[in-house]
């Protein structure tokens, strides 16, 4: 059994998200553990609140809940895409199923993983 972290770097509109989810499901089915799913570059668009009903994002959230795998979005890149968590009671357009964190959290996850797989 291996511990795996995934890095999703493409927008949910592209097929890479689907392939990544298939990979994640197969990893769990084969007894592996997923440490973290990290959304980086255009992948941060998965965390846009308006994407909540989009199929890929909904599937990722369901997967996360079922298998207790954290969905982590790079907050710095997310800000560049206009996605932000609520600050001082302001409006947030970040999907609450995603944790806004940074590269540090991703690198800590990598450090605790046997494998890291990028979906570019």
């Amino acid at each position: 059994m291996a511990t795996i972290s995934l890095c999703i770097q493409q927008s949910p509109q592209l097929g890479h998200s689907y392939h990544a989810l298939r990979y994640a499901r197969a990893a769990i089915a084969n007894g592996h553990q997923l440490q973290q799913i990290f959304f980086y570059q255009a992948g941060v668009l998965h965390a846009l609140a308006s994407q909540h009903n989009a199929q890929h994002t909904a599937d990722w959230i369901a997967f996360s809940h079922t298998h207790q795998v954290p969905l982590v979005v790079c907050h710095t890149v997310a800000e560049l895409y206009g996605i932000h968590a609520a600050v001082d009671g302001g409006q947030s357009n970040l999907n609450p199923a995603f944790d806004a964190a940074g590269l540090t959290e991703f690198l800590v996850a990598i450090n605790q993983s046997d494998k890291v797989v990028q979906f570019l």
Binding site: Q41, L103, I110
Partner: protein, 127 residues
């Protein structure tokens, strides 16, 4: 999709940057390297293809690309005790450059030697 495998005993990270100065991915690769170094994760940086242009492109040109110059940030690698980035001799020749013309110290290897380096690291990220 890229994938790396490890025995998870001594994690070490190889970050390969192929993005040139016209891409935000250049800054993101550097951010990953500096963050890893700050966490004491052994990390080696490789600049391949257009990525070596980040070490020679004039500041004015990067500003024309509407991306802040990252050249000063490359200088932080030494401050974080990151080993000198590796570059391929073939890439330098392709752009008519020598290692001495780059803005920071690099380790020059052949393309084949660079590929052999992959085996020495447990994790690999490409930008």
């Amino acid at each position: 999709m890229t994938q790396s495998q490890s025995n998870h005993t001594t994690p070490s990270l190889l970050v390969i940057q192929t993005a040139g100065p016209d891409s935000v991915a250049a800054r993101e690769a550097l951010d990953v390297v500096l963050n890893a170094a700050a966490l004491d994760i052994p990390v080696q940086f490789v600049l391949q293809g257009n990525a070596i242009l980040n070490l020679v492109t004039p500041v004015a040109l990067t500003e024309a690309f509407n991306t802040p110059s990252v050249q000063k940030k490359y200088g932080m690698l030494e401050l974080f005790d990151v080993p000198a980035p590796m570059v391929a001799s073939e890439d330098l020749q392709r752009f008519g450059l020598t290692a001495e013309q780059l803005s920071i110290e690099v380790t020059e290897l052949s393309q084949q030697q660079l590929q052999q380096q992959h085996a020495h690291f447990t994790q690999l990220l490409r930008f």
